[in-house]
């Protein structure tokens, strides 16, 4: 196998694994900050217990997120050196700003939060939690500004054989990145809420710590309700923008082959990349793609056939990832509305609670699918329209990359297994055993 493919596999494995932990860190930190604030405001010990119980799960997750994040920053250099040299002037700056502006704060204060319960006043301690939550989400701004630039490069010029910054504000206010950020934050909050609701529902079904978990559930429900809608809303905005600036991704995610006005939307399709058509097409609604993508029935949507073959992303993966994300994204607001209706009689709603336990991991699938769509759909470009992934890899031996890839898989499988085991056992144990009072 060649270096490019191996490096892509390694980067995919490393980012997708890292991203199992990031959204919970982002979302749950906000929910925990709210719980701790409620404790400070009301003095009710139950909220303190809540903060500590969810905090324990948060910290296991946080540790895994941190250690898997470090490898990512360095992989641009180890595996994508041609890319790094070409775009470092812009991309590197954004990563460096992320570390100095946000990640430092988050990492320093998480230590203070863990060890500072007796050293700080309750108010100060809650403030630290808010700062941890804020810093994590500010981190996301910079990471997504960097990714947004790869998706839709702006504010640069090509000089001396590389991309150089000409307008920092253009990079900062890149619409693509801003939309990615709001979509990401919404969905991370959604994931955090579903996590809290899923674990709470498990205990409510067993009728354990009912007060504790009803309140936890209801706090998360508010966030879940809001974020399920804002995720869909920002997703729609983001999609329209993708349609405007990344026609090849749009065509692939919709398996849309022929350029047409009143372009149809296929509810289900099996794309056949070789013959440039869909083997199976079910539930095609004429004009709907034009409406969704451009908010205009008569708008023209470019088909894959009008995009050079060597500039098309893998259609099947992109299409399937998009369908998975949107399908789940449609389910979440429905579950949240039902939850809102049942919020006062949760304990009796065993059917709904069972569904919520089963749904705990669904936002994970949706978010991973979303990133597959974003990244695979951008191919064959590493920077859309500017640099191809095939030109971006390091001049290293494929044996080196193969070795490190195997090591990544082994170490991450081990970490994943231990992490999942610890999360699971601590979640199932519940607060009384998990928190010594």
């Amino acid at each position: 196998m060649d270096v490019v493919l191996l490096s892509r596999l390694q980067f995919a494995a490393a980012t997708m694994f890292h991203f199992l932990f990031v959204p919970l860190t982002l979302g749950l930190s906000i929910i925990m900050a709210v719980m701790e604030t409620k404790y400070v405001r009301t003095g009710d010990e139950l909220y303190l217990k809540m903060t500590k119980f969810w905090g324990k799960l948060f910290l296991i997750n946080f540790a895994l997120g941190v250690v898997t994040g470090i490898t990512l920053e360095f992989q641009f250099g180890t595996n994508w050196s041609r890319y790094s040299a070409y775009v470092g002037d812009i991309f590197g700056a954004l990563l460096a700003i992320e570390a100095s502006v946000a990640f430092f704060l988050e990492s320093t204060l998480i230590g203070v939060w863990i060890f500072g319960w007796k050293k700080l006043s309750a108010k100060a301690h809650a403030t630290v939690m808010w700062l941890v939550a804020a810093a994590g989400n500010i981190s996301a701004i910079w990471i997504l500004t960097a990714n947004g630039w790869m998706q839709h490069p702006v504010g640069f010029t090509i000089r001396d054989g590389r991309a150089e910054l000409v307008s920092f504000t253009a990079v900062l206010f890149n619409k693509f990145a801003i939309l990615e950020f709001f979509h990401q934050i919404s969905s991370a909050l959604l994931l955090g809420s579903f996590f809290v609701m899923g674990v709470s529902a498990y205990h409510l079904l067993k009728k354990r710590h009912t007060d504790f978990f009803t309140r936890s559930f209801n706090i998360a429900l508010v966030f879940g309700l809001i974020s399920s809608f804002s995720t869909a809303f920002t997703g729609d905005l983001h999609g329209t923008h993708v349609a405007e600036v990344q026609p090849s991704k749009l065509a692939a995610m919709e398996a849309h082959w022929e350029t047409s006005t009143r372009a149809p939307l296929h509810m289900f399709a099996i794309p056949d990349e070789e013959n440039e058509t869909n083997k199976v097409q079910i539930g095609s609604i004429p004009g709907l793609l034009s409406i969704l993508a451009k908010h205009d029935l008569n708008a023209e949507v470019i088909g894959l056939k009008d995009i050079p073959k060597d500039e098309r992303p893998p259609v099947l993966i992109t299409f399937a990832a998009f369908r998975t994300m949107v399908g789940l994204g449609t389910l979440f607001p429905i579950l949240m509305i039902i939850g809102w209706i049942k919020r006062k009689k949760l304990l009796e709603s065993t059917g709904y609670l069972k569904i919520m336990v089963a749904s705990t991991l669904l936002p994970y699938i949706a978010m991973e699918a979303g990133w597959v769509l974003a990244e695979v759909g951008r191919q064959p470009w590493i920077v859309y329209g500017l640099m191809k992934t095939s030109d971006a890899a390091s001049p290293v031996a494929s044996s080196q990359v193969l070795t490190s890839l195997i090591a990544f898989i082994l170490i991450y499988s081990l970490l994943g297994a231990v992490g999942f085991y610890l999360m699971f056992t601590n979640a199932v144990k519940g607060p009384a055993q998990a928190v010594k009072e």
Binding site: I60, A63, L64, V66, V67, T68, I70, T71, E73, F74, F76, G77, T78, N79, S81, S84, A85, G88, D89, I90, F91, G92, A93, L95, A96, I97, E98, A99, S100, F103, F104, L105, S107, T108, L109, I110, G111, V112, I114, F115, G116, W117, K119, R162, E164, L165, V166, F168, S394, P395, V396, Q400, S404, A407, I411, V418, L422, N426, V435, K436
Partner: protein
């Protein structure tokens, strides 16, 4: 020009801060199986760095990020040519990071032993590998004008490179011992104090050999001979190392630790000053050398990053010092009862 020179030294400074801060974490982790005779003592050692190590590690992320931002070509070439050692460092850091969090989560000596071993490996390996890497950078790395590395992992394990590895390891061991001495009491404290006395002559010998060997293996001294004022840096470093022994003798542990920090900074700057203007010299041909001038970002990016760094690094230092101050004092048996302790 001035911007690039500023960034060159800032680059060195960030690495130096990383080695000072995470250096004692590495030292404590490496000493864990030897100084900690029972589980309580091990936990005291881990909890002495518990609230701080994560923030310390971000200095590495920042040093890496700043290399990327200010000298993208160096970032690209350095990390791809040092592919395998860097991967080993990263895997080691992963093990260390999770082991703190995982260690206490299951009540079993075997479980704890696994994660203590990971802490040990995850502390020793980066300490040595960073030393090997930097010594080889001082010497020059066999890469060509296309950034292709002409060598193997064994190429880096030459005598000078290995000496660099040993130097970093003993510096961090000393740094970690002194930290343990500051943060603990009783038997553990006595053991750390004794280890510090025992380690110091080793550090001195290794450092002196390194300084002499550098004259033969590298061209670092050219800049010192051209500008003899720089010799002051070496003098201060040696004085700092002597200071470590002086304060150890007086049992003034924090001052000894501080002198040790200064020694580490001095060791880094000894190399950085000698390297100037090279960040990443090639041992194949001088024309392939990556310098502050031919490998930097555009002036606009350097300016923006300078503003960011001038504003935020002092802020970071302030809240990190606040955090250090918050957790000052000895880790006691009572602290181990604390439910959130590792």
């Amino acid at each position: 020009m001035a911007l690039q020179i500023t960034w060159f030294y800032l680059w060195g400074l960030l690495w130096a801060i990383f080695f000072i801060t995470d250096g004692f974490d590495f030292g404590v982790g490496a000493l864990l199986p030897f100084l900690g005779k029972n589980d309580d003592e091990k936990r005291m050692m881990i909890n002495s760095i518990g609230p701080l190590w994560d923030g310390n590690e971000v200095w590495l992320i920042t040093a890496g990020g700043v290399t990327f931002a200010a000298f993208p070509l160096v970032y690209a070439t350095m990390f791809s040519t040092l592919y395998t050692p860097l991967m080993l460092i990263l895997f080691a850091l992963i093990l260390r990071g999770v082991s703190f969090e995982f260690r206490g989560k299951v009540e079993s000596p075997a479980w704890r032993f696994i994660w203590d071993t990971c802490t040990f490996i995850g502390s020793v390996a980066p300490a040595i590998l960073f030393g090997v890497a930097f010594a080889n950078i001082f010497k020059g790395i066999p890469f060509d004008g296309q950034g292709v590395y002409h060598g193997t992992l064994l190429t880096l394990l030459n005598p000078y490179g290995l000496l660099g590895g040993v130097l970093f390891l003993v510096l961090f061991l000393q740094h970690g011992t002194l930290w343990t001495a500051i943060k603990t009491e009783g038997d553990l404290h006595e053991r750390a104090a004794l280890t510090a006395t025992f380690l110091w002559p080793i550090v001195l010998v290794v450092a002196v050999i390194f300084l002499i060997y550098s004259a033969f293996a590298t061209s670092l001294y050219a800049n010192y001979i051209a500008n003899p004022i720089w010799f002051l840096v070496i003098l201060i470093t040696v004085a700092a190392l002597l200071g470590v022994r002086y304060f150890v003798g007086k049992k003034e542990w924090f001052k000894a630790w501080f002198a040790s920090a200064l020694t580490i900074a001095g060791a880094v700057f000894f190399g950085i000053i000698g390297l100037f203007p090279n960040l990443y010299p090639s041992s194949i041909k001088a024309e392939f050398n990556l310098t502050a001038f031919n490998a930097s970002s555009s002036p606009l990016t350097l300016q923006i990053m300078l503003i960011v760094v001038i504003i935020f690094i002092p802020i970071v230092l302030c809240y990190q010092i606040w955090a250090y101050n918050l957790f000052k004092g000895k880790v006691t048996q009572e602290d181990l009862e604390y439910e959130e302790a590792y």
